[in-house]
């Protein structure tokens, strides 16, 4: 693991990690009405398997106040991990606690925890307002209507709130589910692929909402398989690959690790042989292969250094580069590298 393990335990800069509260001890104030939080979710040696298939393998992490991104390719175990964090799945081994209290078979944790799961559906016969209001009433909030109104305002669905959810677009359904999860102003908010189905404007607004919740001291975790979503929203990233925690820590550190990884490019130019000779003299280039059909394959030890060096080499050699194609740019290859490192 190249990223410091210490990052797992460190709260994001500028955000408080103190003042842990016991779940279920306080009436929840309305969303956005004050600053609250300080709660943390701890996973210790958590594994989950189904028969012979290991979905999550020995994950230890701590979620502190602020926004954390759970990044991983499809099938990596993100949803399984979120289900265990939210008390909807028992770990096969290890413990998941919220402020020291095990979440499995302990419904009072939902006073502190809000969940937007990927599979949850919204009853289509309810209006958006009725759905959120029913959530407020199920939480037995002292002023459910006011809490529902504020939650709907937070997700910018005021105009559509009296329409049946069955008529909503996918993005609107996502937002009304976020409103229902926020109605009791939870200190911990877990969201599974929250931006699915949202258009760019809705996505931006939701990012602002989550960012503000993190700034207010709440512990927000969202899962995604899209690097850019995590990059825009969270300072702390947990990267999960094939059920294992592959990297954990500050986003910039992980990004740097991704940038400085070995890489293979296919390059087409006006003079492939000349360019190949010139590139071989550069340090990050560890191999060059001329393709008989035209073009060359370049192996580099450092993605970032090479992409900066290539234009300079081409200019100095008077070679016109017509095509540069990274051949292993998939997120999976990035994850694979992180696991291997």
């Amino acid at each position: 693991m190249s990223v410091s393990e210490a990052n797992e335990r460190r709260p994001p800069a500028g955000r408080s990690a103190g003042g842990a509260e016991q779940p279920g001890r306080q009436p929840a104030p309305a969303p956005g009405s004050d600053r609250r939080g300080g709660s943390s979710v701890e996973l210790t040696g958590v594994s989950r398997w189904y028969g012979n298939v290991v979905a999550v393998n020995d994950v230890t992490m701590a979620l502190r106040p602020g926004v954390t991104g759970l990044l991983g390719p499809n099938g990596a175990g993100k949803t399984t991990l979120l289900h265990m964090m939210s008390g909807f799945l028992a770990p096969s081994r290890g413990t998941v606690t919220l402020d020291g209290t095990p979440v499995w078979r302990h419904p009072p944790v939902y006073r502190t925890l809000g969940l937007v799961s990927e599979r949850e559906a919204v009853p289509g016969f309810l209006t958006g307002h009725e759905f959120v209001l029913s959530g407020a009433r199920l939480h037995k909030l002292p002023a459910p209507r006011a809490a529902a109104r504020r939650a709907v305002e937070m997700v910018d669905l005021v105009e559509a709130q009296h329409r049946r959810v069955g008529t909503y677009s996918k993005g609107m359904r996502q937002r009304i589910r976020v409103a229902a999860a926020l109605v009791h102003d939870p200190a911990v908010l877990l969201l599974d692929e929250p931006f699915n189905g949202m258009d760019p404007r809705q996505r931006l607004h939701m990012m602002e909402v989550l960012h503000q919740l993190g700034e207010d001291g709440r512990t927000v975790l969202f899962s995604s398989h899209i690097l850019e979503e995590v990059a825009q929203l969270s300072g702390i990233v947990q990267v999960i690959v094939a059920g294992r925690l592959a990297a954990s820590g500050d986003y910039r550190t992980i990004r740097r690790l991704m940038t400085h990884r070995p890489h293979v490019f296919t390059i087409h130019s006006s003079d492939d042989r000349r360019l190949a000779v010139a590139l071989l003299a550069k340090e990050p280039v560890v191999g060059v292969e001329l393709d008989p059909a035209g073009g060359l394959t370049v192996r580099t030890s450092d993605y970032g250094t090479f992409t900066r060096a290539l234009p300079a080499v081409a200019v100095s050699e008077g070679v016109r580069v017509t095509r540069v194609l990274p051949t292993d740019e998939s997120l999976e290859s990035v994850f694979s590298y992180l696991v291997a490192s």
């Binding site: 499809n74 993100k78 419904p107 599979r119 009853p123 016969f125 029913s134 009433r137 692929e193």
Partner: protein
């Protein structure tokens, strides 16, 4: 103990499902058969057992209870809307009891109305009240059982049908000792005890029937509460 928000949500969900609405006319069959038998000159002693027991207690009541009991929570688990209620700091018994109350009341009203009217066709108000009471007892035990089944298996309707058709419909007629484990016989026994005229008869005594109905209801409800505490979200993992 009973959560009115859950009751309201469950009722709206139940009446929004076509499968349930299609079954509502079923109790009219019992009334229709009783009227037909009466018009053809049959006495209540002659049509009481086949219509009220053979059709009402043995078919209409368990089928309605199965659809309603398995739907109140099972359908929400199937379509994923159950998370809305389960991700709340509510004791699981509050959720189960609220769902059970809806299922029992709806089943009793739907099946009991038909049974009451069919009983009244005989000209005996006492018989009407008796079969209504029997229906209520049966609805309670059946709904508790089928609600628990919806948390124990992914195919509660199929398993419930096997119980109703194979166990109650076949085995209890072949092996008399199994009747003490038949909710249908509890319901008939209660009706027989209240009516007292012998129009409907059961081989299970009323005290045993009541005790067993309570045992089934309590046992199934406790099981459902425990299963709901361990409710897991499964499916696609990513």
């Amino acid at each position: 103990m009973i959560n009115l928000t859950i009751v309201r949500l469950t009722l709206r969900g139940l009446f929004g499902r076509r499968r349930f609405l299609l079954l509502l006319p079923l109790p009219a069959l019992v009334v229709g058969m009783a009227l037909l038998a009466d018009l053809l000159g049959a006495t209540p002693d002659e049509w009481g057992q086949p219509v009220l027991v053979g059709l009402g207690f043995a078919a209409v009541l368990p089928v309605l209870a199965l659809i309603v009991g398995a739907s109140v929570l099972g359908s929400e688990i199937d379509d994923g809307t159950a998370v809305h209620i389960l991700a709340k700091p509510l004791p699981r018994r509050e959720i189960v009891l609220s769902k059970l109350l809806v299922a029992v009341v709806v089943t009793t009203l739907a099946a009991g109305t038909g049974m009451l009217l069919a009983g009244l066709v005989s000209g005996s108000g006492r018989l009407g009240i008796a079969v209504l009471a029997g229906t209520a007892v049966g609805a309670l035990a059946y709904c508790a059982l089928f609600l628990a089944l919806s948390l124990l298996t992914r195919r509660p309707v199929l398993v419930g049908l096997v119980y109703v058709l194979v166990w109650e419909g076949l085995l209890t007629n072949l092996v008399s000792g199994t009747r003490v484990l038949s909710i249908q016989h509890y319901a008939v026994s209660v009706a027989e005890r209240i009516d007292g005229s012998g129009v409907v008869t059961s081989t299970v005594s009323a005290p045993v029937a009541l005790a067993m109905a309570v045992a089934v209801t309590v046992g199934a409800t406790l099981l459902a509460v425990d299963r709901l505490r361990s409710f897991s979200l499964t499916g696609d993992t990513s």
